[in-house]
């Protein structure tokens, strides 16, 4: 594969097995339209040029027959990186979590325990019940993203204890989310996982880690990702979030578990054919994009510091809680809700002489309060955060409202 600088206006030329590929130049209109600083999520990340070239060149085969070498390579790499036997590429984190839970809860009468603010509970449409036919009970998520261990202990219903009890479902699986989205991109530490593993030792209960953003956790802790999941029986990692691949996640676990999950995946409609075209950028995501996440974390702290300086304008943020690439902040304003704020922010404005549109999302947190969530990703640069802070200050300062009076 030959790569060279392209003609004027083109960014890359590849002369490979499938012919010549020019990666697209920036369209003319982009120069005259406002810059979008999109912090709605890290799912908005677009594939890098290297990923596009990889898609162009990918060796493929029919993966339902097990003949796609690229996805096989991705699955093997992911498993190795996470210290597990085997891997399975899936269309999304939701599919990975659902296939995992269904594969663990294979027999009738089993249940999963998960955090009350976790993605599997809040944002997967209750697939557990609707599709998986097992019970999903919740345990309180603490502000640090962990499950309250005392409450968990009291809720465990191991098969050994309750098999003869006609009132109770049998706890088969605990789901831990790392990093924890709704608690603010919080990092679950290995010490916690040690305590959890000890709690359930010998009870026939397993652990699944929803590691959609596991690499953010690993980066924040400076630890290999395998260390964070060594007690987990299965793990899902997302390639399409901060790692920036176009689509997909990988589920990893024992070989037996994965063969069962492969069957479940097929029944959900996740048996894709020449999926190496998605796996090729996925490999780059796993190997390269996992190494740049600290930049997103630094941008998150930079945003956080800027927001904290606006506390007199009603911004409520605990900077200590910003551990990775997610920032939640409250707005203590009598004149503006979080939804109003986000809508105003999304209107075109000017910052540092540039036309910009800044996007975030409102999010209802555990207390019922609606906060604003910003998620840093590789499209949001230092300059982008600067512009966002300028726009935020402009909106909050110009509304004429003040910080809501404290209850005395």
């Amino acid at each position: 594969m030959e790569v060279s600088n392209g003609e004027e206006g083109m960014s890359m030329v590849v002369m490979g097995r499938y012919g010549v590929l020019y990666t697209k130049p920036r369209p003319k209109s982009a120069e005259t339209s406002p810059r979008v600083i999109d912090m709605r999520s890290d799912t908005v990340t677009r594939p890098t040029e290297e990923m596009r070239v990889a898609m162009f060149e990918a060796e493929v085969g029919d993966d339902v027959f097990g003949e796609d070498p690229t996805v096989a390579e991705l699955e093997k790499k992911a498993a190795e990186l996470l210290g597990k036997e085997a891997g399975l590429f899936v269309a999304s984190g939701t599919m990975g979590n659902l296939a995992a839970m269904m594969s663990h809860c294979w027999s009738r009468g089993e249940e999963v325990l998960a955090g009350d603010q976790s993605h599997v509970v809040l944002f997967e449409q209750g697939g557990a019940a609707q599709i998986g036919n097992f019970f999903l009970r919740t345990v309180r998520n603490l502000p640090d993203g962990t499950l309250d261990l005392e409450e968990l202990r009291s809720k465990l219903q191991p098969e050994g204890k309750v098999a003869g009890d006609p009132h109770k479902t049998m706890t088969r699986l605990i789901v831990v989310e790392n990093t924890h989205n709704m608690m603010g991109g919080r990092v679950i530490r290995p010490e916690y996982m040690d305590r959890l593993a000890e709690l359930i030792r010998g009870l026939g209960i397993r652990i699944h880690v929803d590691g959609a953003r596991l690499f953010n956790a690993a980066t924040a802790l400076g630890l290999p990702p395998a260390e964070l999941v060594k007690h987990a029986d299965s793990v899902t990692i997302c390639l399409s979030k901060g790692l920036s691949a176009p689509a997909g996640s990988v589920l990893v676990g024992t070989a037996h578990f994965i063969s069962r999950a492969r069957r479940v995946r097929k029944s959900l409609g996740g048996g894709m054919r020449q999926v190496g075209v998605l796996a090729a950028p996925g490999i780059i995501a796993l190997e390269k994009m996992s190494q740049r996440l600290e930049i997103d974390h630094n941008m998150a702290k930079f945003l956080g510091r800027g927001l904290v300086s606006m506390s007199d304008l009603g911004v409520d943020l605990d900077l200590e809680a910003v551990e990775t690439n997610i920032v939640f902040f409250g707005l203590q304003r009598s004149d503006m809700t979080a939804e109003d704020f986000v809508a105003r922010l999304e209107k075109e404005g000017v910052a540092n002489g540039d036309r910009v549109i800044v996007k975030m999302l409102p999010a209802r947190v555990a207390s019922g309060e609606v906060k604003v969530r910003a998620v840093l990703n590789h499209h949001v640069t230092h300059q982008g955060v600067e512009c966002a802070l300028i726009r935020i200050r402009e909106i909050l300062a110009n509304r004429g409202g003040r910080k809501r009076k404290q209850e005395t």
């Binding site: 499938y18 012919g19 590929l21 020019y22 990666t23 697209k24 709605r40 999520s41 799912t43 908005v44 990340t45 677009r46 594939p47 596009r52 070239v53 898609m55 162009f56 060149e57 493929v60 899936v90 269309a91 999304s92 939701t94 599919m95 990975g96 659902l98 296939a99 997967e124 449409q125 697939g127 609707q130 599709i131 399409s240 176009p246 689509a247 997909g248 069957r263 097929k266 029944s267 959900l268 409609g269 996740g270 048996g271 894709m272 054919r273 020449q274 999926v275 190496g276 075209v277 998605l278």
Partner: protein, 335 residues
């Protein structure tokens, strides 16, 4: 196709912001005479989403006894969508008769009885030798289903093969049903995917169930871009696959120990019987053929299946026939 994928304009499709996916969905819907479309990961997913959308838990869905949805989708309609499957006969062309469908419709005012909320068609029909339903056949079943208040889902994995074989615009086969899915990843040759098409209301609901089963992909415009290429340039050539299938069948018919019905070659699928006594057990024959470099699949009992596509030229067909001849002779002699 590779170039289109690598250059595709993309966005987050869960936010509805992927322009390539939006373009494909619109184009597909328009081609099929439906209002809207939805990219899914596979034909199985499209079929499952149709079941989830049309059927409530405990409903009954009517389909042919040879249907792919019944045989090869891990019982998803029942296990995951909670619907019972009711089978009616398929003829040699894979058609189900309007009269049989009418007779299978339930009276749900009776508490013992599930409601018939969905009828599923398959065109072309996989297990019935790639057989074809005409627009007239389709309309007859649709009329009966609608009269009974049931919707009609068309599993059109290979619908373009049907359209090309019948020499009609594909919309003639798809505009009367309530929803239709077709595969991008089969003879249209895209790497992945299926497109589900129906009314705006249907697609809005289908999108929700697609997310629930895990089909909410992000920048999947990379896949949609291939789909757009396929709809432009991979449909007409299906006629070549059909011609190659006929050539293949003619060649296989001359091999002692094999039986193939030349009238059963409707599109790109060739099903032939292997004489157990004279040649051997079907699975042994498949293994022997594999050793000789010919890859075929098992249909049922002593029936084997071969499918033509863009990687199989007419020269390949002749070579395959020669090798099959050799393999079968070898097995017959050894037997």
């Amino acid at each position: 196709m590779r170039r289109a994928m690598a250059e595709a304009e993309v966005g987050d499709d869960v936010f509805g912001e992927d322009p390539s996916i939006n373009a494909l969905q619109e184009r597909a819907a328009e081609l099929l005479g439906q209002e809207a479309g939805l990219l899914t990961a596979s034909g199985t997913m499209s079929n499952l989403i149709a079941a989830l959308t049309w059927c409530s838990r405990g409903d009954e869905m009517i389909m042919g006894q040879e249907a792919h949805m019944f045989w090869n989708e891990s019982a998803g309609s029942s296990a995951l969508a909670g619907a019972q499957i009711r089978l009616v006969p398929n003829d040699d062309n894979g058609r189900i008769a309007a009269g049989d469908v009418a007779a299978a419709i339930r009276d749900a005012s009776n508490i013992h009885v599930p409601a018939s909320t969905l009828v599923c068609l398959e065109n072309t029909h996989n297990r019935c030798s790639g057989g074809v339903m005409t627009p007239q056949d389709t309309r007859e079943v649709v009329d009966v289903a609608h009269a009974a208040g049931a919707a009609v889902h068309l599993d059109g994995a290979r619908i373009f093969n049907a359209a090309v074989a019948l020499e009609v615009p594909v919309a003639e086969l798809t505009k009367d049903v309530d929803d239709v899915s077709f595969c991008l990843s089969k003879a249209l040759s895209c790497p992945v995917g299926s497109v589900l098409c129906g009314s705006e209301e249907f697609i809005t609901r289908a999108r929700k169930w697609r997310k629930m089963v895990g089909g909410g992909m992000r920048q999947a415009g990379v896949l949609a871009a291939a789909g757009l290429v396929a709809l432009d340039s991979m449909v007409e050539r299906l006629a070549d696959d059909h011609a190659n299938a006929r050539r293949l069948a003619a060649g296989l018919a001359d091999v002692d120990g094999l039986t193939v019905d030349p009238d059963s070659i409707h599109t790109n699928i060739v099903i032939f019987e292997v004489d157990r006594e004279a040649v051997g057990d079907a699975r042994e024959v498949i293994a022997a053929l594999r050793e000789d470099g010919v890859l075929v699949s098992h249909s049922r009992e002593q029936s084997l299946r071969m499918v033509t596509h863009r990687h199989i030229s007419s020269a390949d067909v002749d070579e395959a026939v020669a090798r099959v001849n050799g393999t079968v002779r070898r097995l017959a002699a050894a037997g």
